[in-house]
């Protein structure tokens, strides 16, 4: 899958998984922080996103510190998925 396509798919999955009502995929910028600023997600969302990576891409992240790095923005998530996906 092309990176651009993966980004689009991931954005859709995030919106659905976190029930981000009234957010469209194009509202999520690739380099905008997902937490705090930007989308304004919180610590519970970060756990949900780690579960998303597990269920959709077969990626297991055990260390929360690594998780926080991976979940910085769409670019970091996609780079990690491309490198570690098992499905």
């Amino acid at each position: 899958m092309e990176t651009a396509e993966l980004k689009q798919q991931l954005k859709k999955q995030i919106i659905e998984f976190l029930n981000l009502i009234s957010v469209k995929p194009e509202d999520i910028k690739d380099d905008e922080p997902l937490f705090g600023e930007g989308l304004g997600l919180d610590s519970i969302d970060s756990i949900e996103l780690i579960v998303l990576l597990g269920r959709e891409y077969g990626i297991e992240i055990k260390d929360p510190k690594e998780g926080r790095k991976v979940l910085t923005d769409i670019n970091t998530m996609v780079a990690y998925i491309e490198e570690h996906r098992t499905k």
Partner: protein
């Protein structure tokens, strides 16, 4: 306002089926948390430690003479502690069934210990299981009420892990404001696949024994149990034996996050401060704090900070979560009984599994059993939804 005294106590936990057994285990620093789980099949059996009460449902049924169908473990643990508390207080069956006796119980899982049955009943249109009346939290107290033919004010409080501290507070207030002459108050919760998976999903369950207030703590262990207290007013005592006086209570909200506490610990601080105010005590009068101390990264650091903020140098403190695990809706009531044991026997019990102090506060809990003068004990309970409660028990 009337003074409120505790005239009966009852408890069942991973370290004992009675007040006496729990007392001995606390003195000896017994840990009841083990990598065993016999109550239901679970992936985490053998992988994670739990504070399981070592009695099967069948034995509880026989021991308590529960013959009707649909009675959950949560309810049976409650009845076990309830029976001990009323026996201990010497109140009669007529007293218990009087319209002036309130029953205030707390729990958070209710019949959800029956995860698979609930899954079935919530999704079937065929015949339900025997438990369709037993899933909600109120079902526990309706069972106790029916079993004891009670007629007074009855209530179920669920404020997550502070539930039974709030039940004690509500019962005392009913008495002070003329809604009840006496109150039987407490809490119960049983281990459940539901809570195990819930806390695990939040990454706050430890796969080793929990280490309250330790620098490298890794999360909590779940436990189960129940405790009940009989509350009576000073003017109704007629010279009977009392165990302690309930002098202070307060609930406050941290208003920060659904499942964790704020860095400053406003909720814990306000709850402790409010309880001191009701008790009309200054902070230096507290001899011992039974801390919430769940051994999660968040709780222990925030609770420590709030103690320092209120007390400067906090008094002697300990957490019993290392003995019995976190018993959720039962925790406030079980720890009320433990606080009362400290007052009665003028002693404090060791906080287990601690190695190094949290670097930002340097606070060290009680590490060994010791006898000391104990006049006022504060007991903390903090729960999801920012719900923070502190109770103060005083030597009678």
């Amino acid at each position: 306002m009337s003074k409120i005294f505790i005239t009966g106590i009852g408890v069942i936990s991973a370290i004992g089926n009675s007040v006496a057994e729990n007392h001995e285990a606390l003195k000896a620093g017994v840990c009841g948390i083990k990598k065993e789980l016999d109550l239901f099949p679970s992936k985490y059996k053998g992988l994670m430690p739990f504070g399981q009460v070592p009695i099967s449902n069948e034995s509880l049924q026989n021991k308590l003479q529960v013959k009707e169908p649909g009675v959950t473990r949560t309810s049976m643990l409650a009845l076990h502690a309830f029976n001990e508390a009323v026996r201990c207080s010497g109140i009669t069956a007529d007293d218990i069934s009087s319209p002036e006796t309130a029953l205030i119980g707390a729990n958070t899982v209710g019949g959800m210990c029956l995860t698979d049955e609930l899954y079935h009943d919530a999704n079937t249109s065929e015949a339900g299981s025997e438990y369709t009346h037993s899933y909600d939290c109120a079902s526990v107290n309706l069972f106790l009420q029916k079993h004891n033919k009670m007629q007074g004010v009855i209530n179920t409080i669920n404020t997550a892990c502070s539930s039974s501290a709030n039940a004690i507070m509500y019962g005392a207030m009913l008495m002070q404001h003329g809604f009840a002459k006496r109150a039987i108050v407490g809490g119960t919760d049983s281990l459940a696949k539901f809570t195990i998976n819930g806390f695990n999903a939040l990454h706050i369950l430890s796969s080793d024994l929990c280490t309250p207030f330790d620098e490298s703590r890794k999360g909590l262990n779940l436990g189960e149990g129940a405790a009940f207290l009989v509350l009576e007013k000073e003017e109704d005592l007629n010279g009977k034996k009392v165990y302690a006086e309930l002098t202070g209570y307060c609930n406050a909200n941290d208003a920060y996050h659904p499942s964790s506490l704020s860095d400053e610990g406003d909720g814990p601080y306000l709850a402790m401060q409010g309880a001191l105010k009701i008790a009309d005590l200054t902070a230096d009068k507290i001899d011992f704090i039974n801390a919430h101390g769940t051994a999660t990264e968040n709780n222990d650091e925030v609770e420590s900070r709030a103690m320092v903020r209120l007390f400067g140098t906090p008094p002697v403190f300990a957490s019993t979560k290392g003995n019995i695990g976190h018993t959720l809706g039962a925790a406030g009531a079980i720890e009320a009984v433990y606080s009362i044991l400290s007052l009665l026997n003028q002693e404090v019990y060791p906080s287990l599994h601690f190695k190094n102090a949290i670097s930002s506060t340097g606070l060290i809990p009680v590490l060994e059993y010791k006898q000391m003068p104990v006049n006022h004990v504060m007991s903390n309970s903090f729960g999801f939804g920012g719900n923070c409660s502190s109770l103060i028990f005083s030597k009678a």
